[in-house]
């Protein structure tokens, strides 16, 4: 778990403007979160989670943002809320899971805590503290798109 407890972390911070011309996913990953924590890519590894303040991913619609984060290994992001384009980019591209939590849970999870996410039970287990917290369930279509691995694999019923 990597915790950045501040609201409105925008896509200019997640992947700054000069890198918009880059479309090589591994190259983008080298600059993930550069505007906030230039050391981020050294910390992140496969299967890690992010815990962030509300309105994560606001600003530009650049899909580079969820791509760069997912290529550093980030599997899911926990936040009280996400900006709408970041949210749908993450799901429709099948990059990572944007998981909505209650605002007070931000305080209960610390940086480096080990957590497990159970989508079937809509809950998070904090292994380090032996606590569990609820998550907001995905709506039917969204969860079907996640299940399919992205929008292109989803069959409209």
């Amino acid at each position: 778990m990597h915790k950045y407890n501040r609201p409105n972390i925008d896509t200019d911070v997640i992947i700054p403007g000069p890198y918009l011309k880059i479309h090589d996913h591994d190259e983008l990953a080298k600059h993930a979160m550069e505007g906030l924590d230039p050391n981020f890519t050294n910390k992140a590894s496969k299967g890690d989670f992010l815990l962030v303040g509300h309105n994560f991913g606001c600003g530009s619609s650049r899909e580079h943002a969820p791509i760069a984060l997912s290529k550093t290994g980030i599997k899911a992001i926990l936040s009280p809320s996400f900006a709408r384009i970041f949210y749908r980019n993450s799901i429709d591209g099948g990059y990572l899971l944007p998981i909505e939590i209650e605002e007070n849970i931000l305080e209960k999870i610390d940086d480096k805590d080990e957590i497990e996410i159970n989508l079937d039970k809509n809950s998070i287990l904090n292994v380090t503290k032996n606590e569990s917290y609820p998550i907001k369930p995905f709506s039917k279509i969204i969860s079907d798109i996640i299940e399919a691995g992205g929008l292109f694999n989803y069959k409209i019923s």
């Binding site: 409105n8 925008d10 200019d12 911070v13 700054p16 403007g17 000069p18 918009l20 011309k21 880059i22 479309h23 505007g35 509300h54 309105n55 606001c58 600003g59 530009s60 619609s61 650049r62 899909e63 580079h64 809320s81 900006a83 709408r84 384009i85 749908r88 980019n89 429709d92 591209g93 709506s139 039917k140 279509i141 969204i142 992205g150 929008l151 292109f152 409209i156």
Partner: protein
């Protein structure tokens, strides 16, 4: 129960009799836009899918698609030059004819092109690979930004999912003082509701002040709804909309669709324009808004008049009125938002006014607004800007600071070298 304009458009586009906020629908799309950043992103999505065996030889309807070269023109380096080459070949392969190319007649910032060229009509569903696609909603369309995968999906299937948004209504009334621009109004609204105040929702504008606005000012309102997190911004079409479109398209017919009289809004906000002050959004958020006079005298290093929200013809006219016969005290850049606007500014003598004041005129580009190239800010530099965002690093170095304001405030600040209320010049 009646439907708001946004709900009505989405009900038609999803072939449903009615829709209710919160419904997730698959909507047909009328028009699609991508630019030289989202375009190569879409190409990448196509390539990855083809590797997995998807058949993507044909688009759903190339005549409904257009491409703008705007972010990295003139090419900032070899990578961005290659991106445009790749995009051009791809557009040719798929038969996309509306490609607004840098250096070949009309081109400019995608959102400005969409209304300058009359590419979207009232009642249509328009999606673009850029967050400020909301701009075009002022024409009375449902207009929303999407990412690369979603645009790729629309290009293939002609439809996309939306969660039907609740609509917030902003009524702006009172006598509008000459020194108040649409930018001041929308900054004050964002200040009140916050940068996520309209997340997942529609922002609709009405009231006597909006009715009295020319289209270009209305586009400033809808453009900045993105900064409040809105899914779309929208204004019901009226005679001003009709005149604007007919000037560009001739006597074509279109549906002047409006919301139902008994439509339900999630919230209604009333603003009295007479009481508003020329305002700025301080670093590092568009919601960090104060009257200019509260920060009057803050020294700046640069004044920037550019972008889809701050370099339309009406913006340039307002700035020129203030700069006429004066000299700038800090480096000042004026970049008209489209070639057609640049041309009108030359014919009206605005470019002469800017150049005589000492300002530099640049070609239409998003470059400096998103901190990519063409005049980025250095360490600790401070900029008064007509653009729409001021997050850390948005216009250059992460330590630089951007104050967002109307073209009048930025022009006044260029003359004094300090943040200045135009009334105090």
């Amino acid at each position: 129960m009646g439907m708001t304009l946004t709900e009505k458009i989405l009900s038609h586009s999803s072939n449903s009799k009615t829709v209710t906020p919160g419904d997730i629908i698959f909507s047909n799309v009328d028009k699609v836009m991508m630019h030289d950043v989202s375009g190569p992103g879409v190409i990448k999505v196509f390539k990855e899918l083809e590797k997995k065996g998807y058949q993507l030889e044909k688009l759903w309807d190339p005549d409904r698609v257009w491409i703008s070269e705007d972010h990295f023109v003139p090419a900032s380096d070899r990578i961005s030059a290659d991106n445009v080459i790749q995009l051009t070949k791809w557009a040719q392969k798929y038969g996309i004819k509306k490609h607004f190319k840098y250096g070949m007649g009309q081109y400019g910032i995608c959102h400005t092109i969409s209304h300058e060229e009359g590419l979207v009509l009232p009642g249509e569903v328009y999606v673009g690979g850029d967050s400020h696609t909301n701009t075009t909603g002022a024409i009375g369309a449902f207009s929303a930004g999407l990412g690369h995968t979603d645009i790729a999906y629309v290009l293939k299937h002609g439809k996309i999912w939306f969660k039907v948004p609740e609509t917030m209504l902003f009524k702006v009334t009172g006598k509008k003082p000459d020194y108040i621009m649409a930018k001041d109004i929308i900054l004050n609204i964002i200040s009140d509701i916050g940068t996520d105040g309209a997340n997942y929702r529609a922002m609709q504008f009405s009231g006597s002040v909006v009715d009295g606005m020319e289209m270009e000012e209305r586009f400033t309102l809808t453009n900045m709804t993105t900064e409040a997190g809105a899914k779309n911004g929208i204004i019901e079409p009226d005679n001003t909309t009709v005149d604007y479109l007919r000037t560009r398209l001739g006597r074509i017919n279109f549906n002047l669709i409006k919301g139902d009289p008994d439509a339900e809004f999630s919230e209604i906000f009333d603003y009295d324009c007479e009481k508003m002050e020329p305002s700025v959004a301080k670093p590092y958020s568009p919601e960090n808004v104060v009257p200019v006079r509260e920060v009057q005298g803050t020294e700046i290093d640069k004044a920037y008049i550019g972008s889809c929200t701050g370099a339309k013809l009406s913006d340039l006219r307002s700035a020129a009125k203030i700069l006429e016969g004066k000299k700038v005290k800090v480096r000042t850049e004026v970049l008209p938002a489209a070639q057609s606007i640049y041309m009108k500014a030359i014919k009206e003598g605005l470019v002469t006014i800017f150049m005589e004041s000492g300002a530099v005129i640049g070609p239409p580009t998003c470059g400096a607004c998103c901190g990519a190239h063409m005049g980025v800010l250095g360490k600790d530099e401070i900029c008064a800007s007509t653009t729409n965002r001021n997050f850390p690093g948005r216009m250059g170095d992460v330590t630089s600071k951007t104050y967002l304001a109307s073209p009048m405030v930025v022009a006044a600040s260029a003359i004094t070298g300090k943040l200045t209320d135009p009334r105090d010049l």
